[in-house]
Amino acid sequence: MFIIECPYCGKRDQNEFSYGGEAHIARPTNSDIQDDETWADYVFLRSNTKGVFAERWMHAAGCRKWFNALRNTASDKILAIYKQGEQPPQIAGEDLATPAGEPVIGSGNDATKVLQPGTAGVVK
C-alpha cells in the first residue's frame, strides 16, 4: 500500500485514491474512419511496463481530481507526481539489479546470482 501525494491535498493513504491505469493514451481522432487495429490498440492494448511507468490516479475520497504519477513498477517507488494535462518529467530509469528489472530483494529471481555486475538494468 502506498502513500500518495495528491498535488492538491498532500500526502494521503492509497485507500483514498482510485486507480486509472496507464496515462497519456490518446483517443484516436476521426473515429468514424479508424480501422479495427487502431481501435483495438486504443481500447485493449497496454504497455504494461516493468520499470518507470506513467499512470493516472484520482483522489476519490478527497478533492476528486485526477492527476498523474511516474512509478517504478518493479520496485513500487513513486518517482514523480504531476498534474493532468502536463507532460511527464524526464526521469532517468533507476539502476535495476537484474535484466528483468527487479530489485534483488524480494524478487525471487535467482538469476541475479549468475550475472556479472553492470550488465543489468535496461528499462524499455
Partner: protein, 532 residues
C-alpha cells in the same frame, strides 16, 4: 504386540517401512489418488482416445454420448460426480470431442528416453528399509543450455512445464528446453490457492477448463507423481437475488455443456459445508450457491515437479536460474534467444511467463492486452479438519479451503495498480479476513501464519491468450490472470499443439489475440469476478 514381534524377529526398519506403506495407502484412499479409483470408471475413461481438436471418428461418437450421459446423471444425483470423467462436446453436432488422455503404458509415443526409477509402493518399501538414502533426483539438472533447440519455452511454471511435456510426449519434440529465471514453480504456480473447477459460462471457456479437468483426474497416474488431487467439491455462494439468478443461469449453461454443476439452497449449502453461516440476518446472507463436486484442490509444487520430471525423462532440458533477456528475430521470424546463461538458437519461442508476458512480448515488439497486478493469499495456523470443501464468494470476496496440514488457505483480491513486485497492500488482506469472518464466524480468533503475493496477468475479458503472433515462431500463452491454475494441463496440452503445428486446435482457437480486433471476446467476469 507389535513391540513383541519387533523384538522377536524383525529389524525395526521393516516395521517402519510397513507402517509407512500402510499410512501411504490409507492416505491415497482418503485423497482419492490415482490407482485407487474404481476400475469401472477407469474402463469407461479409456474407451477412446482422440486427439483434441481433431474431429473424432464416427465410432467415437456413441461413447461420447454414453459418457456425457454418465456425467450429467452424476451431476444431478450429485453423489458420484467427483469420480466420473466428463467428456466435452463443443459447437454443432458435427464435432464430437472425447477429450481424454491415455494411461502412460498405453500411449504409443511414450518411451522414457532417460531411465528414471518409477515411484511405487515397492520403491517406498525399499527406501523405507534403506532409510531413504536411495532416492535419485527427480529430473536431470542441466546447467548449460545446448547451442540450439527445436523450441524453447520461456517460464517454468505449471503451464510451461506442461507445454514441454505434451510437446515431447504427443508431438515427438524432444530437443526442446524450458528456461526459467528462478526455480521452476517459484512463480504463480507456487503461490496460488490451487482451486480447480470447470463451471464457466461460455462454451469456449467450458471447453478448455473441462479439458483440463479431464486431464487432472488421471494426471497423477500419468506422470507417476503424487499431485494430491482432491476432488472435494467447490461451492460458489450467492448473497443477493441478482447473483443467485446469474449463478443458476450458469448451472444451466454448464449442464448443457455436460459439465458437473448443481444449485444448492442455503440449507443444502450448510449441509455440504457446516461452518458456513446461513443466518438470514447478516449483512450478506447466503441465499444458496452452486456446487461443482468434481472441483477441488491439488498440490501445486507436485504438479510442476511431476511435469518437469516426466518431460525431463523424455529428453526435455529444464534450465533453472536462467533468465531470457532478449529474443532475436530475422525477417520477421524468431531465430534465437539471449539468456543469462548464453545465447540459444531456436526457430520457436513459446512464452508462458504469466505476470511477465508483456515483458517477454515486448522483446519482439508485440503489444498485448494484458495488465499485471499483485494478487495475495495467506494461510492460518493449522487446525483440525473444519472446512471439507472449497468455498468461494464473490460478494463478500473471499475463497477458502483447508490444506492437508490443517491450515486454512485464503485467497485475496488483486491490488488495483500495475506492479511486478510480488507484494500487495495490507488493506487488501485485511478486507479478505473481514470477509472470511463474515462467512465463517467460527474462525474469528484464528491467527494467520504466512502471507505472500504473485503477479497475475489480467486480460480485459478475464480470459486467457493462447496465440500466434505477427512474429513467426513466437507464441504466447498468458493472460490467465487470477484463475489459471485450474487450466494448467488443458492449457499446456492445447498450447503444445499450437506450437508444434503452428495452428490452434478448436479448443485453443477462441483464445487467439485477434479476438481483440474482431470483438469476439470470451467475457468471463461473471464466472470469475476477481476470485477464481
Amino acid at each position: 504386540m507389535v513391540r513383541l514381534v519387533a523384538r522377536a524377529s524383525f529389524p525395526k526398519s521393516v516395521l517402519v517401512a510397513v507402517g509407512q506403506v500402510v499410512v501411504y495407502a490409507e492416505f491415497c484412499r482418503i485423497m482419492e489418488l490415482p490407482g485407487t479409483e474404481r476400475r469401472s470408471v477407469r474402463a469407461s475413461k479409456e474407451i477412446t482416445v482422440s486427439r483434441t481438436g481433431k474431429a473424432a471418428s464416427a465410432e467415437n461418437a456413441p461413447h461420447t454420448h454414453q459418457i456425457r450421459h454418465l456425467g450429467s446423471a452424476a451431476s444431478q444425483s450429485g453423489k458420484t460426480a467427483a469420480r466420473r470423467p466428463f467428456s466435452w462436446r463443443m459447437g454443432p453436432a458435427s464435432s464430437h470431442h472425447l477429450v481424454s488422455v491415455p494411461r502412460v503404458p498405453h500411449c504409443p509415443h511414450f518411451t522414457w528416453v532417460f531411465a528414471m526409477k518409477r515411484y511405487s509402493i515397492g520403491s517406498l518399501i525399499r527406501e523405507g528399509l534403506r532409510g531413504h538414502t536411495g532416492w535419485e533426483q527427480a529430473w536431470r539438472q542441466v546447467e548449460t543450455p545446448k547451442a540450439s533447440y527445436d523450441a524453447v519455452i520461456i517460464g517454468g511454471g505449471g503451464h510451461g512445464t506442461a507445454t514441454a511435456y505434451y510437446l515431447a510426449k504427443e508431438h515427438g519434440m524432444r530437443n526442446i528446453a524450458v528456461v526459467e529465471k528462478g526455480w521452476i514453480g517459484g512463480g504463480n504456480a507456487g503461490r496460488n490457492t490451487t482451486i480447480i473447477r470447470s463451471n464457466y459460462l461460455n462454451d469456449a471457456s467450458a471447453a478448455i477448463y473441462q479439458h483440463a479437468m479431464d486431464l487432472w483426474t488421471t494426471l497423477g497416474r500419468e506422470l507417476n507423481y503424487n499431485i494430491m488431487m482432491s476432488h472435494r467439491g467447490v461451492l460458489n455462494l450467492a448473497h443477493d437475488d441478482g447473483e443467485a439468478r446469474a449463478l443458476k443461469r450458469r448451472v444451466e449453461a454448464n449442464r448443457l455443456n455436460g459439465i458437473d454443476a448443481a444449485w444448492l439452497d442455503a440449507k443444502e449449502v450448510q449441509e455440504f459445508c457446516p461452518i458456513v453461516n446461513i443466518d438470514p440476518d447478516i449483512r450478506y446472507p447466503v441465499l444458496g450457491g452452486t456446487l461443482q463436486k468434481v472441483g477441488g484442490v491439488n498440490r501445486h509444487d507436485a504438479v510442476v515437479w511431476g511435469y518437469a520430471r516426466a518431460a525431463s525423462a523424455l529428453g526435455v532440458d529444464i534450465i533453472q536460474n536462467c533468465e531470457v533477456t532478449d529474443i532475436r528475430t530475422e525477417a520477421g521470424a524468431v531465430v534465437g534467444i539471449e539468456t543469462t546463461r548464453g545465447s540459444i538458437r531456436t526457430p520457436k519461442v513459446a512464452s508462458v511467463a504469466a505476470g511477465h508476458s508483456s515483458v517477454i512480448a515486448k522483446m519482439v515488439d508485440v503489444k498485448l492486452p494484458i495488465e499485471s497486478h499483485p494478487l495475495q493469499a495467506l494461510v492460518s495456523e493449522p487446525i483440525k479438519p473444519l472446512n471439507p470443501c472449497v468455498v468461494m464468494s464473490n460478494a463478500v470476496h473471499v475463497y477458502c479451503s483447508q490444506s492437508d496440514k490443517g491450515e486454512l488457505v485464503i485467497g485475496a483480491g488483486i491490488d488495483p495498480q500495475i506492479s511486478y513486485t510480488q507484494r500487495g497492500g495490507f488493506d487488501v488482506i485485511e478486507h479478505q479476513l473481514a470477509a472470511l469472518i463474515e462467512l465463517f464466524p467460527i474462525v474469528s480468533r484464528l491467527r494467520m501464519l504466512r502471507q505472500w503475493g504473485g503477479i497475475v496477468d489480467v486480460c480485459p475479458d478475464a480470459s486467457a491468450l493462447i496465440t500466434k503472433t505477427k512474429v513467426k515462431g513466437f507464441y504466447v500463452n498468458g493472460g490467465w490472470g487470477t484463475g489459471g491454475w485450474k487450466a494448467t494441463p488443458g492449457s499446456g496440452h492445447v498450447f503444445a499443439d499450437l506450437v508444434a503445428n503452428d495452428e490452434p486446435n478448436e479448443i485453443a482457437a477462441p483464445f487467439a489475440l485477434d479476438r481483440f480486433y474482431s470483438g469476439k471476446l470470451v467475457a468471463e467476469h461473471g464466472a470469475a469476478a476477481v476470485a477464481h
